[in-house]
């Protein structure tokens, strides 16, 4: 039986720097493996839609404009995303990757939480709400 075993912890801590960091003024380097914002490279996409089917949070929709011509638009909702990277893993073509730098995604603007990846023209058409023939949506 002893009394005050933890007094040494307290006295040692008096002369140490605080263990906490003054975020956002001090930033720790993010680990290589950190899973942040999702990015899509359409080059190799075959439109299989596994990313959308396997997403546990329904954060991904793959809009198939023309499967033969490989015209796809990936609609991504970072606010729904749980950053599990299952889509990155499910994609056999390696089209998806998660950034380890873009992780501060809070925003007051709702539009920030709906990202459309694809050819500029297609994205603009979708944003403008213009009717697109034979659109298939994989959710």
């Amino acid at each position: 039986m002893k009394i005050g075993i933890m007094i040494s912890d307290i006295s040692n801590s008096l002369f140490r720097r605080p263990i906490t960091e003054l975020y956002p003024f001090e930033r720790r380097e993010t680990p290589e493996s950190l899973r942040g914002m999702l990015h899509w490279n359409s080059e190799n996409c075959t439109g299989c839609g596994l990313c959308a089917k396997d997403c546990p949070a329904n954060a991904i929709d793959l809009i198939v404009l023309d499967k033969k011509a490989k015209r796809f638009v990936l609609s991504y909702h970072p606010d729904r995303c749980t950053f599990c990277a299952q889509c990155v893993h499910s994609c056999r073509q390696g089209c998806l990757e998660m950034s380890n730098e873009e992780w501060e995604l809070a925003s007051l603007d709702k539009d920030q939480f709906h990202v459309l990846y694809g050819v500029k023209e297609d994205v603009e058409n979708i944003l403008a709400g213009s009717p697109l023939p034979d659109v298939d949506r994989i959710e």
Partner: protein, 399 residues
């Protein structure tokens, strides 16, 4: 005369669902005679999230993430239990390297869970110094988990058929270095919980559970092991890489709160040993095998050792890409009966300590249903009938 009457009366203290002492919702009705508890009733179910129903409408892959979110502390072990069950149903063999990484993450998770628990229990005992310092040291293991997986909680290490990431030498060295620091601190904390006179007043001889009681009440995990019941799934029925990296069981005889602290802290040394062994002898090879999207028809049970005790999964597939039924039993539900028994005879102020002694996780366990209709019909099984049903069911399946 009047005084005599008041003395004879008992008083019922309702605690919860919202209460400053309990961070999660649960309701206790504690009957006291003066300061001494004479009876206790627990009511659970305030955090029921319908997860078992929700998984029936999602595919096998999506469910991995749903089930991982049952518990924020032991998320990895839920995913592991699910993966082991589904892989068993699909008849898929996971590569040894992936199995070792799963066990390594599970042991890191055990370290963070036990550190967290010691902190919470110390806070309930009014020993906030221990709470603060042990949580500071817990950050070491949280950082290691972040370096490995990218996340501090819900690491999502598992995928069906393997794991998502590999461990390189740099990460292995970081883990070894972190473990050296944690081991030194753990020795210090073991000294604190077993020798600090003030702390022992809150834990020594409080909530004593004999070995017989622990067995009869069906306790699991460190709560049972603190009462000298050798119950550890890693040892009794090894799974995954525990065949290659056998764990040693840690037992204590006293059965009081001090024993529960000592068992958990001594288990940390076992986790450090296992992690170092895995890092030194990590098998080479693939990280995953191919899994079918549709799982063969069938059913299986799967048991793993979560930080709090035995975690049980029942998985039934109907041959589609969605499960037909998944039943989960978490360790807290097994240990909860011990709380209402053990508090009797103790002071009211000891109730939170005895409750926290089992390391309860309320939102984990809220999925049990007992039918008790107004017409008097009750659906319940006696222990004997349930045992017989199990035997008959087993024979039916294997005949």
């Amino acid at each position: 005369m009047m005084e005599k009457k008041i003395m004879d009366e008992t008083f019922t203290v309702p605690i919860g669902p919202q209460h400053p002492a309990l961070k999660e919702p649960s309701h206790f009705r504690i009957t006291v005679d003066g300061e001494i508890v004479t009876n206790a009733v627990v009511r659970l179910g305030y955090a029921h999230r319908g997860i078992e129903k929700a998984v029936e409408g999602r595919n096998w892959i999506q469910n991995l993430y749903m089930l991982e979110r049952i518990c924020g502390i032991c998320s990895h072990i839920h995913a592991t239990a699910y993966c082991l069950g589904v892989e068993q149903l699909a008849g898929v063999e996971v590569p040894p390297r992936a199995q070792a990484i799963r066990v390594l993450t599970a042991e890191l998770e055990r370290i963070h869970s036990h550190f967290l628990w010691v902190g919470v229990a110390a806070h309930e005992a009014g020993f906030d110094t221990l709470f603060m310092y042990i949580w500071r040291d817990r950050e070491t293991v949280m950082d290691l988990l972040e370096t490995l997986s990218g996340n501090r909680v819900n690491y999502s290490v598992n995928i069906l058929g393997g794991v998502k990431f590999d461990i390189n030498e740099e990460q292995a060295d970081a883990i070894r270095k972190g473990l050296d620091y944690l081991e030194e601190r753990t020795n210090h904390y073991l000294d604190v919980v077993s020798n600090d006179a003030m702390f022992l007043q809150r834990t020594s001889g409080i909530g004593v559970m004999t070995r017989n009681q622990a067995e009869v009440l069906g306790t699991v995990g460190p709560t049972a092991r603190a009462s000298n019941v050798a119950r550890d799934v890693r040892v009794e029925a090894p799974y995954g890489a525990y065949f290659d990296y056998p764990a040693n069981i840690v037992l204590e005889e006293r059965g009081d709160l001090t024993a529960r602290f000592v068992v958990r802290i001594k288990e940390l040394f076992e986790s450090y040993r296992l992690i170092r062994l895995i890092l030194d002898t990590l098998p080479s090879g693939d990280l995953e095998t191919r899994m079918p999207r549709r799982i063969k028809e069938g059913e299986t049970v799967c048991r793993v050792e979560a930080p709090r005790g035995e975690l049980f999964y029942f998985i039934k597939s109907n041959g589609t890409d969605m499960p037909e039924r998944i039943k989960i039993r978490t360790p807290t539900i097994c240990n909860m009966t011990s709380v209402v028994k053990l508090v009797i005879g103790h002071q009211l102020a000891d109730v939170p300590m005895i409750l926290v002694g089992i390391d309860p996780c309320f939102s984990c366990n809220d999925r049990m249903v007992i039918l008790d209709r107004s017409d008097g019909y009750k659906q319940q099984w006696t222990w004997e009938a349930l045992r017989q049903h199990g035997i008959d069911y087993y024979h039916e399946q294997h005949s």
